[in-house]
Assembly symmetry: C2
Homo-oligomer: 183 residues x 2
């Protein structure tokens, strides 16, 4: 066993919800003492960086109740039970933005809040876009926007965009742009 | 009112914990129907990108109970009540790694999981590092590592690093490196 591991003594379910569950684990620490860990269980999610043939990025503007405000993000959504991340990425892109993608490339996966949640986001780059129709969840309302990379960067600069996955996506596109120009 | 806003009909507290609280909000949707939102309240956090004078990055290896595994991250920690993010960044850097920084620069803030949590991370770049002594929380155990940018990038590639703030930090350092080389 790794010298940093924490052993579960008891796990108590506090809440089982539609999207998240909450449990409290009593743990034995590496030094033999005990502590409590508050843990949010989440099914995992995908996020998509949709790039048009002009090199623009498709974003969505959505009210986030947890923040009590509308924020701008790349399209994203949670995995349905048993759903493969690639299928989920295709579905969420189409549902939220109406776009179909002929080229959906896996980029990386990351945990969003490892201190208290197990949520993992699988990030994809979508190109070869063609327009279709949206098909949103019945409690989902959002605006679709198309912006240039420079506009997206300005939105990070003035805090219109302040979402981790979206900030990562925009930085990724800037790096891609630079690599291309160096070829 | 923005056409995407959701109005709170009723908010029910499910759990009040040491780090997070859970509440369920019944909301009125933009179309007049109702839905429920599961919301995790978090005090906010800081994360620090510590860069040595050789251009290496300081990382911490820590067991994360929510993931049931040890992962590698940049130093980070939650805000104490009423604590300014800059003070928190100084404190967490010293507590977790032992390093003091003579230059602590704010980079950006981002939400980590806007779909279900209000956690915001304020990200700082720390340079002018000098070694001191660590002073960890009594339930905090971690290893400190110093790696080159290339080693850090390889760790993202082979999924040893798969944490959003850390992936962002490494991409940021690569961009900084490129900008410097173009000067």
């Amino acid at each position: 066993m790794d010298h940093l591991n924490e052993k579960t003594i008891q796990s108590t379910s506090i809440y089982k919800g539609r999207i998240i569950d909450l449990q409290i684990d009593e743990v034995e620490l590496p030094n033999g003492k005990t502590s409590k860990r508050e843990i949010v269980k989440h099914p995992g999610a995908v996020a998509i960086i949709p790039i048009t043939k002009e090199g623009n990025i498709i974003l969505v503007r959505q009210f986030r109740k947890a923040l009590e405000k509308t924020i701008i993000e790349i399209p994203a959504g949670k995995l349905d039970e048993g759903e493969a991340p690639l299928m989920c990425a295709k579905r969420e892109l189409a549902e939220e933005t109406g776009y179909q993608s002929s080229e959906l490339e896996f980029l990386l996966s990351f945990y969003t809040s490892p201190g208290f949640a197990d949520e993992i986001i699988h990030l994809y780059v979508a190109s070869g876009l063609s327009e279709g129709t949206t098909n949103r969840d019945e409690d989902e309302f959002l605006d679709v926007m198309e912006v240039t990379l420079e506009e997206a960067e300005a939105m990070v600069g003035d805090q219109q965009i302040h979402d981790a996955k979206t900030a990562y996506a925009i930085q990724y596109l800037r790096m891609k742009e630079w690599t291309k120009n160096q070829d």
